[in-house]
Structure formats: C-alpha cells, structure tokens
Amino acid sequence: MNPKNWFEESHSEMPKPWWWVFIGFLILGGLILPMFTEIDVHLDMSIIFIFALLSLSMGFLWGYGGMLSFGQTIFFGLGGYTYAIWSLNFNETTFGLILAVFVPLLVSCALGYFMIYGRISNIYFTVTTLVTTIVLEKAVRATSDERFVIGSVRLKGQNGISSVPDLQIPWNPDETLFLTGVYYVTFVALFLTYIALRMLLITHFGRVLVSIRENENRTELLGYDARRYKLGAFVISGGIAGLAGALYGIWGNFVAPEMMNLNSAANIVMYVIVGGKSTLIGPIFGTAVVQRVTTELGMAGVGQVTLYLGLMLIIFVMVFPRGILPTLGTLTFITFDKIRNYYKNNFDKGDKDGQ
C-alpha cells in the first residue's frame, strides 16, 4: 500500500491498531458525554447521529460502490413511516424497529433490481433515485383524506403522523426510552453500523464492490457478476437508511413527508461531499459539521441559511473536492513526512561529517 493519507488507508486490510484506539476513544467519549452535559445537548447530538447514519448509508454506496443515490431519503421515509404505523397499530415497538429495516430492504431490492439489472448508466441511476423520492413524497402528501388509513392509523398527508411512540425496552415494554435513552440508542446504532461497514470492506464482497467502482468492465471480465454486488450494496444501504428513518421517528415522535423531499435528499449529498466520500468516517464528520454550521447560522439570524449552505457546498466542490477529512489527512501526512525527511537529512549529514 502507498499511504498518502491517514484517513484513506487501504480498505482491504484489517484496520491498524491506531484505528481501534481512535474508535475506542470516540465510543468512550460518546458513552460518557451524557454524564457531563444537559438534556438539550443529548437531543442535538441524537439528531446528528441519526442523519450521520443516513449519510453513512449514502457515503458507503457512493464512495465504495461508485453509485450516487440521490434517494436514500426514500428508505429514510419508508423506515420512519413503517415504524410509526406498526407501533401505533400494535402498541409494540421492537418488532416495529425491525420491520422499519426490513421494509426498506425489500423496497430497495425491488427498485435496485430494475435499475441495476436493467443496466441503466450511473447518471440515470442518480436521476431515478431522485425522482423516486420526490414521487414518494408527493404520494404521501396526497393522503390527507380520511380514506387513507392503514390499520387504525391515518396517514394524514402533509401533516404527517404525530405521537409516534417512544421506543420500548424489549424485555420491559412498560418502560420507554426518552431523551438520554434515545441518545444512547442512536449512538450505538451509528457506531455499530460504522464498524460493520468497515469490516464489510475487508471481505471478498467488499473488495469486489470497490473493484466495480474502479472498473466495472474488468470486474466482469474476471467472471464476477457485477450486478449482484451492486444490488447487494444498494440493499444494505437501503436497510441502514430505513433504520435511520425509524430512529428519526422515535427522536421527534413525528414522521412527515418532508423526510423524503428534495431538500432532505440534497442535504445528505452535501453532508457526504463536505465530509469526504472516500472514507466511511467522512460522512459522519460532514453531518456534524454542516448541522453545527446550520444551527449557528440560524441563531446568528442571517436569514437565508440555505443560501449560505449552498455557498459552502460550492466552495467545497471547487476547493476541497475530496472533502474535509481526506484533505486534512493528506496535509498532516505531508507535514509529518517533511519533518521526518528534514531530520533524516540532517542526521545523515552529521554522520558523514563525523567520518
């Protein structure tokens, strides 16, 4: 391997020890954070974790599978609505959460089958996912009428479904998780998913997936059926987005068509671009940064927050096209390399002088 960058180490090898130490610290930090902070911080952090999970699903698909899905919000919305409808109908949440992953898995399988086995090109893949999320949003918006009822739950169109139940503790359904509890659930979900995806990249499946991103023709010439691998990646990321959607419903006790609109879809793309799609930690980092900036801009009362965010996106695409983390990684690496060379040269010179 040719380590030009500390954050982009070879994906196909087991992570180095320092990676585990780094992740260990992050997890430790995440676990003890609630002990030193107020409730409002937990609430803010939870929503960052939820959107980080969603952008992770997209970053994985884009950065490692080479497929830019503009419609991860399809599965985000589906996950949220599935959880809401099941848990309101049956007053039970554990299976609702499982179903909120399972339904997006099925839908992404069907949608992915037609797109990937139909061999549409990457640009049409992006457009199709984008259009699907908008169509789905409009469809859900049009369900205000009383006729649209699933079980005993009215879909209520653009008003969304409120009073989505809190998550029950599986072995003790009378008790529900609230605020800090939700913080822990979202945190654990995010980091388990992150580690699982990182491990997936070491497997044969993960390595073939990356080779498809590099050169699909060559992968096929080696005998692999690229479509199976691409569909697999699409389904995995659909399931993750569904989980994020359910957690969003739990976090705000509310699901609405806005989860699937153009604005949400574009935000996710922005998180991934800002953080850097060539890494898995990048999208998580990008989500935190952009959300923080959004909040700060809102509080500073600048008015058109979206306009400033757009400006930020343009700057990133033009100046740091690889995103924050990969750029930082390269810069620190070059700096350390220069320092090392400087000392090495001086040492060598001293050695020669001595002789």
Partner: protein, 240 residues
C-alpha cells in the same frame, strides 16, 4: 479437415457494424485446441473489435461464436469469462485505484479459496517479477508495468483460451523477450490468440498467422509465406 470437436473456438459469419462502419464483416475463424495464433493487420482492420466480441464486451451485429461447443454469441461478459476466456485488452484494463497485489488477488480469488488465492498471487508476483511494485497503486505505474499487471490478472484466472491484445506495447526489448517466453510457456497448456504489430515478436512465437484487413480475413498462413506475400506488403505500406 479437422473435426468440429477439435476446435476450441469457432466463429461463423461474424459481423459488427458501428452505424455505417463495418468493423468486422462475415468472419469465419477457427482455432484448434492448444493452438497459438497471431493476428496482424493495419490499424482499423478490426482486430480489437474481433477480440471484444469474443470476450462479449461487444455484441455482434450478426453471426455466431462457439467456444468449446457452447454458443456464446449472446452470453454476458462474466459468463464468457467463467467458461474460460481471459482477455488482456489493448488499453490496460486494470483497477487504477488499487495496488498491484489487490488487482491480482481479485482475479485469483474468483474461483479459489481465500488461502489458495493468496498462494496464487504470490506465485504470479514472483513469476512476473512484480515484487518491487506489489504495493504500488496500479494507476501510478508505467504503461509496460500496467501490461504486466493485467497479464498477471488474466493468468490468475487460469483460462483455457487467452486473448492478448498488443501485449508488448510499451515494453522494453528485454521485457518483450520475457513476454514471448511466458506466452510460449503458457501455450503448453492453453490456447492463445495474440494481436501484435511487432513482427520480430511474432516470428518468435507464431505458427500460423491470420491477416485482418478492412474487417475481413485476408489470408491465413505461416509467417514466412505471409512476409513474402505482395498483397500483405502493400497493405502495410498503404498501397492497397
């Protein structure tokens, strides 16, 4: 006259048209088991298009392809590869963002267990003397080195028919000589078709040579006879 089962590869009236351009028209081509065949012809004669049809990267406009008796005319790329055709494309077709070892591993791992794949990778790396660049990204290598990497990938697949499109382009004289040795070594067990422009190289390895011209087979003969042929000389000097 040889029996049908003696042929590993046959094409019948194979044609490929790009719009109005007839890149390949009505080619009947036969290759015996264990044969080493060279294809020559000026640029644009249709050699690479022919190769891309054999490996299913292009769908033929008309005609049929038979490999080991299977009709592969409409098969997918990966299916043809699984049947045992390996191809090295003219422009090195490799994974630029991955290192040399990973490139070859992806090929070796396709039909081997994880343990055996590692063994094959080490074997190929030492056989092609790629040790020094094993951990470099393929995108950073010189053209000749990228050729070696692709050659390594294709041989890791252990194909029964190997298609090599200009395998010595960008190589030094020594490297070219080594490639010739490797090809002759591989030919002891598998059938090979080579597209080349380097006549000395062809003379070293070839038995029967097929000349392509304007999408058709012009002649098929030994290298000596072909070099003395007036028509072939005219084509190469641009008089036809």
């Amino acid at each position: 006259m040889a029996n049908k089962s003696d042929y590993i590869l046959q094409t019948r009236q194979l044609s490929k048209h790009f719009g109005g351009v007839k890149a390949i028209s009505n080619v009947d081509f036969n290759l015996l088991h264990g044969e080493l065949r060279c294809l020559i012809g000026p640029n644009g004669a249709g050699k690479s298009t022919f190769f891309k049809m054999l490996s299913a990267q292009h769908a033929p406009t008309s005609g049929e392809i038979f490999f080991k008796g299977h009709n592969t005319t409409k098969a997918g790329i990966h299916k043809v590869s699984r049947l045992g055709i390996g191809i090295k494309n003219q422009v090195p077709d490799v994974f630029d963002g991955l290192d040399v070892k990973e490139n070859i591993w992806l090929a070796a791992r396709f039909c081997n267990t994880a343990e055996k794949a590692l063994h094959i990778v080490d074997d190929i790396i030492s056989r092609l003397s790629l040790e020094l660049i094993a951990h470099k990204l393929v995108g950073e290598l010189a053209h000749g080195e990228r050729q070696w990497v692709e050659f390594g990938m294709v041989s890791a697949l252990d194909p029964q028919l190997l298609l090599l499109d200009e395998p010595t382009a960008g190589m030094t004289v020594d490297e070219t000589a080594k490639t010739a040795e490797l090809i002759l070594e591989l030919n002891k067990t598998i059938s090979i078709i080579v597209v080349e422009h380097d006549m000395q190289f062809i003379r070293k390895i070839a038995n029967i040579v097929t000349v392509f011209h304007q999408g058709k087979i012009l002649m098929e003969d030994t290298m000596e006879n072909i070099q003395q042929n007036e028509l072939v000389r005219n084509i190469y000097l641009g008089k036809s």
